[in-house]
Amino acid sequence: MRRRVIPDIAGQAGAILVTLAGLLILTFVIGRIMPTDPVRAIVGEDATREVYENVYRQLGLDRPVWQQFFFYVRDVLTFDFGTSIRTGQPVLQDIARVLPATVELATFAIVIGAGLGIPLGVAAAVNKDRWPDHVIRIASLMGHSMPIFWTGMIALLIFYAGLGWVGGSGRMSQFYIGLVPERTNFLLIDSALAGQWDVFRSAVNHIILPASLLGYSSSAYITRMTRSFMLDQLNQEYVTTARVKGLSRNKTIWRHAFGNIKVQLVTIVALAYGSLLEGAVLIETVFAWPGFGQYLTSNLLIGDMNAVMTCVLVVGLIFIGLNLISDILYRVFDPRTR
């Protein structure tokens, strides 16, 4: 078995390279078909013909398409993604600044989503076709069906404007902005490091609502998958054997059956974590969360294609990375693949 590992890894690396190349072609094509004139976006409406043509040549637009693609790949490989028209900063620097806010939100959300989804999925499987199963099924389908931007607004209306239980939009109260030294850009970590517990509390207050909503929507998927994995295990004979030899119901479920689905769950949670990025685009708009999603949408609306294409590339890379990690974890944890 061990001998097959190396060709497997080589094959996978090849597949990833091909996917990466495809990713580059895709972003390149999207960047080329845009209707807005990239030169006009830089030089403005009043530029003279001479200035226009200079920039046109600087951007390499007078070259054949294959050369343009070649330059694009070279830029990407040397991490030169150009500057954002809106902020005037290098795009990569912008993304590095906003990404921690989103990662913080998504991590908080996946903890809630997995913490909710896995026990519910197990409960649904154990009570298959009885009322807890039906209730859990409906609850998780609701989470899957709600337009998250709308739920976010309704939740703000109820929990912030109505009851005043949580903070409103943004990562912290206006009052605290700029008080915390930026080290990691993860606000919860930064404020804890600085010992500013007021800010920390404000940050928790602000993150709890959007994270819960994202967590609920991702728990739908986690619940469903946990339920079906669990059912597969519970129908097997070793479960009956364990019960017959006198092991308690709880021990059979959690020690034996659940122990066997852990590996599959890791994959599911990793994929759910990636798709949280998608929910984040919408929820960040609603909650004015200064993260990756908001950066992407605000650049979309003004047609800042450099920034948009880099964002799309980053999301693609994150997805490929997550797939790879879950694959590796699968190999490490599943004794059968050793």
């Binding site: 495809g22 999207i30 337009p147 309704i154 404007a161 685009v281 919408l282 948009v308 964002c311």
Partner: protein, 298 residues
């Protein structure tokens, strides 16, 4: 010379399909959740068909005398910031939702079927290339890829539909490929090939019809996602443009007034939630209906 009864096979296959469709529908109606889904979708279709009759006001006419009115007998769901009747706008918005569903289905179905069956039938290098392409599209969350396409094409309802279609075909292609692989080595395909049928003819006449049922079901399952993506694009201002009564765009404009006038965002949101829930419940039921272990149980 023996005359082959060519017609019989075809005549027998259609009623058989109808019978199994009928059995699936009966199964769906027996379970309350999927019955609810079917009813909601039927209502949606009726609403779209009879929108001018059901609407109490013109969805586009502004009435600046009565802006931001709360729900009442005159305006069932209240009025928006320009005095337009929200109930009538939601009724007319159902046409946009149905259009999106319909157009995405008729674009995505054939593309997915074509790529999937060709990849599955030919196998080898063709398969590798086409499946790599599919994987690239699958490696993005659908909303973000649609966002990028809309940004490139310019925001409008048509472009949103194109963008959603471009991102929705990969799962269909995967499915059609898997189905094709199971039929590829079947005897009836070999028989067709021996008779001298071309590959194109075999794919079109013998493989595509076999893949059709599961592709249709998969399309239904995906519709909830399509609706949420379309609403999300509308909400971000990249889908249907005002004054079109698209539900997501209605929520976006209502957002500014939501603290004082809750009805502006609440009712369109409920409409989106109901339709996407209906598709999910229906899809859930369909999955059970087609699971041979389940269908005889209830």
């Amino acid at each position: 010379m023996v005359t082959l009864p060519l017609g019989t096979a075809r005549r027998r296959s259609l009623p058989h399909g109808l019978v199994s469709l009928g059995r699936i529908a009966a199964f769906l109606f027996r379970a309350p959740p999927s019955a609810f889904g079917l009813v909601v979708l039927a209502l949606l279709i009726l609403m779209a068909a009879f929108a001018p009759l059901l609407a109490t006001h013109d969805p586009y006419v502004q009435d600046l005398q009565s802006t931001l009115q709360p729900p009442s007998g005159a305006h069932f769901f209240g009025t928006d910031e320009l005095g337009r009747d929200i109930y009538s706008r939601i009724v007319h918005g159902s046409r946009i939702t149905l259009t999106i569903i319909f157009v995405v289905s008729i674009v995505v179905g054939p593309i997915g079927l074509f790529i999937g069956t060709v990849a599955g039938y030919y196998g080898g290098r063709v398969d590798t290339v086409l499946m790599r392409l599919t994987d690239i599209f699958l490696s993005f969350p659908s909303l973000i890829l649609s966002l990028a396409f809309v940004a490139a094409l310019g925001p409008s309802l048509n472009n949103a539909i194109i963008a959603i279609s471009l991102t929705a075909w990969p799962p269909i292609a995967r499915l059609a490929r898997a189905e094709t692989m199971t039929f590829r080595s079947a005897d009836y395909i070999a028989a067709a090939r021996l008779q001298g049928a071309s590959s194109a003819r075999i794919i079109w006449k013998s493989i595509v019809p076999m893949c059709l049922p599961s592709v249709l079901i998969r399309l239904t399952l995906n519709m909830a996602t399509v609706i949420l993506t379309a609403a999300g694009l509308g909400f971000l201002g990249l889908g249907a443009q005002p004054p079109l009564p698209e539900w997501g765009a209605m929520i976006a404009t209502g957002r500014r007034y939501m603290i004082d006038s809750w009805w502006l965002v609440t009712f369109p949101g409920v409409a989106i939630l109901l339709v996407s829930l209906a598709f999910n419940l229906l899809g859930d039921g369909l999955r059970d209906a087609l699971d041979p272990k389940q269908i005889n149980k209830r």
